[in-house]
């Protein structure tokens, strides 16, 4: 019973609020980079409220059930993933063996829900976007998993999130070693691709294929996609900070330090997104399977040599 409360309080309400604030920071930083004023603070909240009040149109060529259920799959996965992260962070005693592997799967599900939505929408542009998303998932998952091996090896082959956190509290953060730093560097493009931000927003390219897989979505379904995206904007950096930068700390000045850690991470992602053009899908695959995979293999080898 307690777990349902955690799911609603931490997984849904807290993460959604923080994610929407994060998406405001993202938009504001983007605007400042382009010498604009940018949207007001409550803008993401207005957007979601507005979308919830709009009509949901289902195209005649779509397969109706799949079309309406696929946003919910991604949203549910993102919520559960952030609940697991919060419970480990606040030490609510829900760490189980192999929760990193569960999180790995849960963070892949939002991409799968976008693919399902794009294919079932019956729109040719949606299908093009879905096929691009499949290729992108294939390319970034391998280096992503390789990079996550580094903190696992560092903490003495533990696949329990809480043990990795405790190891980092007792010793130093993973990112302060050679292997951890290299793995964190290699993870940043993977995060960018997972969040569908600009150098790798190939699947949702607004100027080429008009938002791709989510082109036919409107009203509540679109609101769920937007919410999933902002939840991931908070919980993916949270996951990386937990594994590499020693997690968050809520005692005294630790709060300030945690907020700075997260915001610096977010601003790095945003600045990368604003200073790069969109790459083509074959360039993205070559980039991820070439330099990024080699870099993460080197990081794993360094971790095995205890560097």
């Amino acid at each position: 019973m307690m777990y349902i409360v955690y799911l609603i309080v931490f997984g849904f309400i807290l993460t959604t609020a923080l994610g929407l604030i994060a998406s405001w920071i993202d938009r504001k930083v983007t605007a400042r980079v382009q010498y604009r004023v940018g949207p007001p603070f409550f803008q993401p909240f207005y957007d979601i409220t507005k979308l919830l009040g709009k009509e949901t149109v289902v195209p005649a060529t779509a397969s109706k059930g799949m079309f309406l259920i696929s946003p919910v799959i991604g949203f549910a996965a993102a919520t559960v993933a952030s609940t697991i992260l919060w419970m480990n962070q606040l030490k609510l005693g829900a760490s189980f063996l192999g929760d990193i592997i569960v999180l790995l799967y849960l963070f892949t599900l939002p991409s799968l829900s976008i693919i399902l939505g794009g294919v079932s929408s019956g729109n040719p542009l949606g299908r093009v976007g879905a096929s691009r998303e499949i290729k992108l998932v294939l390319s970034y998952e391998l280096p992503f998993i390789l990079c996550l091996l580094v903190p696992i090896i560092k903490s003495g082959y533990s696949i329990r999130l809480l043990q990795i956190l405790n190891f980092q509290t007792n010793n130093s953060a993973t990112a302060l070693s050679f292997s951890g730093g290299l793995a964190l560097l290699m993870l940043i493009p993977c995060i960018q691709a997972k969040l569908a931000l600009v150098p790798f927003d190939i699947a949702e390219a607004e100027t080429e294929i008009m938002a791709g897989p989510i082109i036919e979505y409107s009203g509540v379904s679109l609101a769920i996609y937007k919410l999933t995206k902002s939840i991931l904007l908070f919980s993916l950096p949270f996951f990386i900070i937990t594994l590499f930068l020693g997690g968050f700390n809520f005692v005294g000045f630790g709060i300030l330090y945690s907020i700075i850690k997260y915001i610096v991470f977010l601003v790095i992602i945003t600045v990368i997104r604003n200073t790069n053009p969109r790459v083509r899908i074959d360039h993205a695959m070559r980039f991820f399977w070439g330099p990024i995979t080699i870099g993460s293999i080197i990081a794993v080898v360094l971790a095995l040599l205890d560097l």
């Binding site: 938009r27 605007a31 382009q34 010498y35 604009r36 004023v37 940018g38 949207p39 007001p40 409550f42 803008q43 207005y46 957007d47 409220t49 507005k50 009040g53 709009k54 009509e55 949901t56 149109v57 607004e206 008009m210 938002a211 082109i215 036919e216 979505y217 409107s218 009203g219 679109l222």
Partner: protein
């Protein structure tokens, strides 16, 4: 005013369709997004698809081929949707009023809420038109309540 309507007025996402315009009004619409005017201050974003949009911006004189498409777009749009006619051509067909290719004005095909005249209208005029639209919607709900 209800929460729903308030949120709609705070984040109107615009979709922009040209019914055979000379491209001048379209450039002025895009000018509104530039750092000098920055309509994202009011929560306005260019929507990639009509399914995401709350405001339909129509430019151009409306020729035979494109009028069918505009009607289809209006029918596909999730309601509530607001239609704004930008430029002399969309308001009254302009110099093409006697043309064989522009048989009907825009407001005979779909209901138009705001007319922004000019050839082309300045970005300031477009923003002023949208502000008037928001005031109109607010007053309408005040009188009904």
């Amino acid at each position: 005013m209800s929460i729903r309507l308030n949120a709609l007025l705070k984040s109107p996402w615009v979709f922009h369709v040209s019914t055979g315009s000379c491209n001048n009004c379209d450039i002025e619409v895009l000018d509104c997004l530039t750092p000098r005017f920055d309509i994202e201050r009011f929560g306005m974003v260019l929507a990639p698809s009509i399914k995401h949009a709350d405001v339909l911006l129509v430019t151009g004189s409306g020729n035979r081929k494109s009028m069918e498409r505009v009607k289809k777009l209006y029918e596909q749009a999730p309601k509530p949707i607001v239609v704004v006619a930008i430029g002399e051509c969309a308001c009254s067909r302009g110099i093409f009023i006697h043309s064989y290719n522009c048989p009907v004005p825009l407001d005979k095909v779909i209901p138009v809420d705001v007319y922004i005249p000019g050839c082309p209208p300045k970005p300031e005029a477009i923003i002023a038109g949208v502000v008037k639209l928001i005031q109109k919607v607010k007053e309408k709900t005040k009188n009904n309540a």
